[in-house]
Symmetry: C2
Subunit: 176 residues, 2 copies
Amino acid sequence: MAPDRAAETVFQTPWFDIVAKWDGQPEGGEPYYALRLVDFTCTIALTPKQEFVLVRQYRPAVERKTLELPAGHVDPGESPSDSAGRELAEETGYVGTRIESLGRLAPDTGRASNAMWCFLVPDAVPQGEPEPGIEVVLYSAAELAESIRGGEFDHALHLAALHLAAVTGKLPPWAN
Amino acid sequence: MAPDRAAETVFQTPWFDIVAKWDGQPEGGEPYYALRLVDFTCTIALTPKQEFVLVRQYRPAVERKTLELPAGHVDPGESPSDSAGRELAEETGYVGTRIESLGRLAPDTGRASNAMWCFLVPDAVPQGEPEPGIEVVLYSAAELAESIRGGEFDHALHLAALHLAAVTGKLPPWAN
C-alpha cells in the first residue's frame, strides 16, 4: 500500500473488490476506499393487465424477505438489455416481446463506479417457472404505491428505476 | 475464517466493513459477503419559490462532478432528522424551520443492511456559506425532471428519495 500508487485493490471477493485511492487524499492519511462492483440491471415488467411483475425472496444482507423488481448482474460480454431479459426470465419465468431502455443510473456516487441499467418490458407474460426461492407477485400500480408507502417495497435502487420511468413518461399516468 | 462461525468481519475501513456470512451458503464454498455501512440521510429541501436545493461536487468514486440532493452519514448518537438538518446546513448553508420524515429505505438489499432516511425541508432559506468544494444549485421541478431525463442528476439513491416523496404525496403535484 505504498502511498505513491494512485489506486490499489486491497480486498477481493468473487462479487466485488475494495479499491484504495490516494488521489486527492491528505498526505500520510487514510486512502479513499471505493467499491468495484459489476454493472447490474433492474426491470419494470408490466403484464397485459398493467400489473407489475415483482419478486419476493429472502435477502441475507437484510435478513428478511423483500419485495423488489427483477434485477441481476450483467455477465461478462453480455449487453445490459440481454441481461435484463435473461434475469426477468430466470427469476420470474416471464418474457416480453419488447425491452425498452429507461436509462443508466449511478447506484452510489459516494462509493461505487458501476452502473445500474433500467429497462421496461411492457408486455410480460408467463412462459416458465420462477427461480427456486423466488415468489412472483403481481401488483397493480395502486398496490405498488401502497406497498412503497407501507415500507414493504423499500429497495431504494428499485424506487429509483420507478422514478426514472415516471419522469421519462414511460409509465402509464396511473402509475406516477 | 472458520466455517462454523456465522459471520466474521474480514476487512475494515474507517467508513465501512466487509462481513463474511456462512449461513445458508454451500458447505466448503465461498461465504456471502455483505457490507456493513453506517446509516445516512438524504434531504429534499425546497425554497419558498419551490426550488430544489441541490449540490454539485466532485465524486472520487465516479471520477466526475455530480448533481445530487444534500446527504450524509448519521453520526454516532445522532438522530436521523438531526443528521439531515446538520448535513443540509453544512453542505449548502440552507436551513429550514421544519424537517418532515418521508421514510426509511434500504440502499442495497443485495449487499448492505444500513438504512437511508429520507426527509423533506419545505421552507429552506440560505443562512450561511456552502461547504468548500460544493456548489449549491437551485432547480425548479421542471429543471430537475429535465436533469434526470438528461442524465445530469443520476444518483439512484436520490431518485429513490424523490419517488418516495412523490408516492407519499409530500411533493407538490407539479413535481411528480
